[in-house]
């Protein structure tokens, strides 16, 4: 956005990533989404008298994975604390979270902002990431003035990931959120489903005059569940804050909600109504001790991380930094690319990269599909690239074959090339014969060429290509044509 030049925007993000464990963080109930209300809430989740929490080790492993992926300290000892407040969908009237000693401390994430010439990298520092349980859901519709409570989500494990106030624009905030989203899916700790609430962000936004060293008063935008809303909400909030200050007002600390319909943020509660959560260590849970051996075991099970994979792509496949970064933007893209290479051969790496980032990306984007939903599999596209690489077809024919594969008109590139007779004509005898026919039929163009009109040459090439239905190698056609014309 076009910022008022005199102002600097300061943003920190808090993200709740729902961890992809089968059971809840402190009970054995299932975490599956979409079940009938209150069918996945056991005695512990509904906080019957006498029940006690038991920590799910898988949730801890997710936290360890994350800590390793962002280069953070995995705390050898962290503490679960109770955050006390009353709400009907919080059955114990406290949330078990981590407060003073979180399991993941520090770390950072590198993001890319801008495009083309303006592309730059930036490191966002993480403050911490801690384990906690989710609350249930309050359903305010359909109950005729009453509120329904669904406790299926109560006790679902979350990793809350908190950044330093390092971002300076909505673009940077969105770039960070996207990078984090890709990372948690990459290391397989969160399905990243934003519609279902598996990945949701709160943005702390403040502004200050350029040169000012003190941070402005922040307002926290809660529950941003899409990147587009995040951008809109921050942009609105920034304008609102700047205007308010320029009008002589002050910013008061508050929690705000973004209304996607109006595109505006609206204060939900001010600092005065802020809860005193009365955090204290949960006496029902022992301190979480993580031995180095546990971290080592998890490290051994980790997939190759994006940074390492990017370096390998540059080193082993000779790709540019830009290509390597784009291809490692998500694990799905990277896996697709590597599967393509397996079919196309390593030497075709650059062509494969161009296709993934070019034709395939454009088509997926146009049809609003994720790469995991691509109708053309990596093996199919790799097979197509192999035929470009070995000269069987040209790039333009390849696009036709790609369309055919996309539309499910064949099992493989080879099958389509064979069935449609798209094989490139490289037999110079056959091409010469066609050129002779073209020259005979286009005497005027020949004359014009001899008179010095280079344009006429292109017309002749075009006629020859047309006569071969594009199957001839255009370069070869040009060479033979010049020879015939004695040029």
């Amino acid at each position: 956005m076009a910022l008022v030049d005199n102002w600097e925007v300061v943003i920190g993000l808090e993200t709740h990533a729902q961890l992809a464990t089968k059971s809840k963080i402190f009970s054995g109930a299932s975490t599956a989404f979409g079940a009938a209300p209150n069918t996945q809430a056991c005695a512990v989740d509904i906080a019957l008298p006498g029940v006690l929490p038991v920590l799910n080790g898988k949730a801890v492993e997710c936290a360890i994975r994350f800590g390793l992926a962002v280069g953070a300290l995995i705390a050898p000892r962290s503490i679960f604390a109770r955050k006390n407040y009353f709400y009907p969908d919080l059955p114990k009237a406290y949330q078990i979270s981590q407060y003073e000693l979180p399991v993941v401390q520090g770390g950072s994430l590198t993001i890319r902002v801008g495009q083309g010439e303006d592309l730059s990298e930036k490191t966002v520092r993480l403050t911490r990431a801690h384990l906690e349980e989710d609350a249930g859901k309050s359903l305010h519709e359909d109950f005729h003035g009453k509120t329904g409570i669904d406790l299926n989500r109560a006790g679902t494990p979350l990793l809350e990931i908190v950044t330093e106030p390092d971002m300076r624009s909505s673009d940077e905030a969105v770039a960070y959120a996207r990078a984090l989203h890709a990372l948690v899916r990459w290391i397989d700790i969160c399905d990243g489903n934003m519609q279902e609430g598996s990945f949701r962000c709160d943005a702390n936004v403040s502004v200050r005059r350029r040169g000012e060293s003190k941070l402005g008063t922040r307002r926290e935008i809660k529950n941003l569940n899409s990147f587009r809303f995040m951008q809109q909400a921050i942009d609105f909030e920034v304008r609102w804050q700047i205007e308010r200050i320029e009008d002589g007002g002050t910013i008061e600390q508050a929690t705000v909600l973004f209304d996607p319909d109006s595109g505006e943020t609206r204060a939900m509660r001010s600092k005065e109504d802020a809860h005193d959560y009365r955090y204290f260590p949960d006496p029902d849970l022992l301190p979480l001790d993580i031995a180095p051996a546990w971290i080592e075991r998890v490290k051994g099970e980790m997939p190759e991380l994006p940074g390492a994979m990017k370096a390998r792509f540059e080193r082993d496949y000779g790709l540019s930094a830009y290509d390597a970064t784009t291809l490692t933007g998500s694990l799905e893209i990277a896996r697709y690319f590597e599967a393509m290479l397996a079919a196309a051969g390593r030497t075709a790496a650059k062509t494969c990269a161009n296709w993934v980032m070019g034709d395939l990306a454009a088509r997926l984007n146009r049809e609003d599909k994720d790469i995991s939903e691509s109708p053309v599999s990596a093996a199919q596209l790799g097979g197509l690239i192999a035929r470009i690489a070995d000269g069987t077809i040209s790039n333009s024919i390849a696009r036709k074959v790609f369309d055919a594969l996309w539309n499910g008109e064949g099992e493989s590139a080879d099958q389509i090339i064979e069935a449609e007779g798209l094989k490139q004509i490289s037999d110079s005898g056959a091409i010469e014969k066609i050129i002779d026919e073209v020259l005979a039929a286009n005497a005027r163009s020949v004359e014009e060429f001899r008179a010095g009109k280079e344009k006429a040459f292109n017309a002749l090439v075009g006629q020859a290509m047309k006569a071969t239905k594009g199957k001839a190698n255009p370069q070869q056609v040009g060479e033979l044509l010049r020879k015939k014309l004695g040029a």
Binding site: V54, N84, F86, F280, P283
Partner: protein
């Protein structure tokens, strides 16, 4: 039969001299006759009890009986029991029927014992006189004008009145030992973590521990054998090898070093209690033990530290009683906040509210460091005192309660006076150590009449078997534990 020990009852059941149904009926009849005057039980359910008794008889007949199979046990109403009203002594849960079995209940079921009923208690175990129960005060069988102690007052009174052969209790700051002392029973609070807290309605999670209340140390050992054991559902349950708590019963006392903390023998103790406790120590010396002077320098801080930590935890633990999902909900209310306020204002009694308020205050922003953190530091100092003391002794002894049972109403209006009832018991909870109380005589002065005095025995961590042996040897040489209140024969 009503005076028989658990092993005698077990032998009678095994020999077929009596059936569990007959035995249970005997005690149910006594409850019907005596409970109206004592109010030791909140819930008695003949059909459920007799059904369990019949099942126990069937197990015995099938040769599948253990030492406790068929023996009726009264359960403190703090333990959630499947199908049983489980009130925790509160209006808040007066309508709450347990949907599952607490670990302790399940362990007794596994052993084949029979649930005789749910015993009265101070509301949510907060009290030292059993006067805070929504279901009315419990009377001390030794003198109905006196309190039975608390919070496990119903359990203590029912065993003392021979309405049950044995009972369970829970002890957060003395709630097993103090009522045991005041009713002339033997009661044991195990090391924190020995008995699972799963299904035991939480008061102060880091202090709560369940244990047996019976007439003798031998009975307590048998009961603890059933109650103890690792339970994965309680993260603070300790995964240790199974113990036989009867193993040290016969062990002689020669060479036993008994630590006497000078802080436990100061001016706070009533003269009649002092006389009985000192006589008991003399008896121990006769049995071959020797006494050693020790010091627990920070024990004077135990009551203030306790009354920060326990309320802090309870203020959070009791927040789930919000009228939303179960328990009491105010019949009329406006909005959500009003529903919370009215339900909790009407559902909780005065002492529970007092502790919730204290706990909320000490955890509040700006006060946490001064109260809660400070109390936790004191807690560590108190625990360290015991570590130091146990270098010089095997067990520690002293009074359980500074006085014998006091009159109903005597302390209920003065919380601090009431809180001081637990001055000798609280430090063991703060340290997580095992402690027990055994009868060691009677108050002899005119003021207190003929009321039991308890001797407290504090052991080192996991010292339960040794403590039970120390108590048993004394009980072989004395008969305080087999005295019976007049009028309950």
């Amino acid at each position: 039969m009503i005076n028989a020990s658990l092993s005698e009852l077990s032998a009678a059941l095994a020999a077929g001299r009596i059936s569990s149904v007959e035995l249970s009926t005997l005690f149910l009849d006594r409850i019907a006759a005596l409970n109206p005057a004592i109010n030791a039980f909140i819930t008695v359910d003949h059909e459920r009890t007799l059904a369990e008794a019949r099942a126990a008889d069937a197990r015995r007949a099938a040769g599948d009986g253990g030492p406790l199979t068929g023996i009726p046990i009264a359960q403190k109403d703090i333990f959630v029991a499947d199908g049983w009203l489980t009130t925790c002594g509160s209006k808040m849960l007066a309508n709450f029927v347990g949907p599952y079995d607490a670990h302790v209940i399940a362990q007794f079921k596994r052993a084949g014992s029979v649930t005789l009923g749910k015993t009265n208690m101070d509301e949510f175990a907060m009290g030292s006189s059993n006067e805070t129960s929504f279901f009315g005060p419990v009377r001390n069988p030794w003198n109905p004008g006196r309190v039975p102690g608390g919070s496990s007052g119903g359990s203590a009174a029912c065993v003392a009145a021979r309405m049950a052969p044995a009972a369970t209790g829970t002890d957060t700051g003395g709630s097993i030992r103090q009522p045991a002392a005041l009713c002339g029973l033997t009661g044991l609070k195990p090391t924190y973590g020995v008995v699972s807290r799963y299904g035991m309605i939480a008061f102060a999670s880091s202090l709560d521990q369940a244990g047996p209340m019976a007439r003798s140390a031998e009975d307590c050992a048998l009961l603890l054998n059933a109650m103890a054991g690792f339970d994965a559902r309680d993260s603070t349950s300790l995964d240790r090898p199974v113990e036989d708590y009867t193993r040290d019963l016969a062990r002689p006392l020669v060479g036993l070093r008994i630590g006497l903390p000078r802080e436990f023998f100061g001016p706070g103790m009533a003269d009649d209690v002092r006389t009985a406790v000192e006589a008991a120590l003399e008896q121990y010396r006769k049995l071959g033990a020797r006494t050693v002077d020790i010091s627990l320098p920070n024990s004077g801080l135990s009551v203030p530290a306790y009354y920060v930590i326990a309320p802090a935890e309870c203020s959070s633990n009791l927040s789930r009683f919000d009228g939303v999902r179960y328990g009491y909900r105010a019949p009329e209310y406006g909005d959500l906040t009003d529903m919370y306020c009215k339900s909790r204002a009407q559902g909780f009694g005065a002492e529970v509210k007092r502790r919730i308020l204290i706990g909320t205050y000490v955890l509040s922003h700006g006060y946490y460091d001064a109260y809660y953190l400070q109390a936790q530091k004191i807690r560590r100092l108190i625990a360290q005192d015991f570590v130091t003391a146990f270098a010089d002794c095997d067990v520690i002894m002293g009074p359980t309660s500074p006085s014998v049972a006091f009159a109903h109403g005597a302390r209920i209006a003065d919380p601090v006076q009431m809180y001081l009832s637990d001055i000798y018991t609280i430090s063991t909870n703060l340290a997580g150590l095992p402690g027990m109380s055994i009868p060691c005589g009677f108050g002899a002065d005119e003021k207190s009449g003929n009321m039991p005095v308890g001797l407290q025995i504090i052991g080192n961590y996991f010292g339960e078997a040794r403590m039970l042996g120390v108590a048993h040897q004394y009980q072989l040489a004395t008969d305080w534990h087999s005295r019976m209140p007049a009028g309950f024969a």
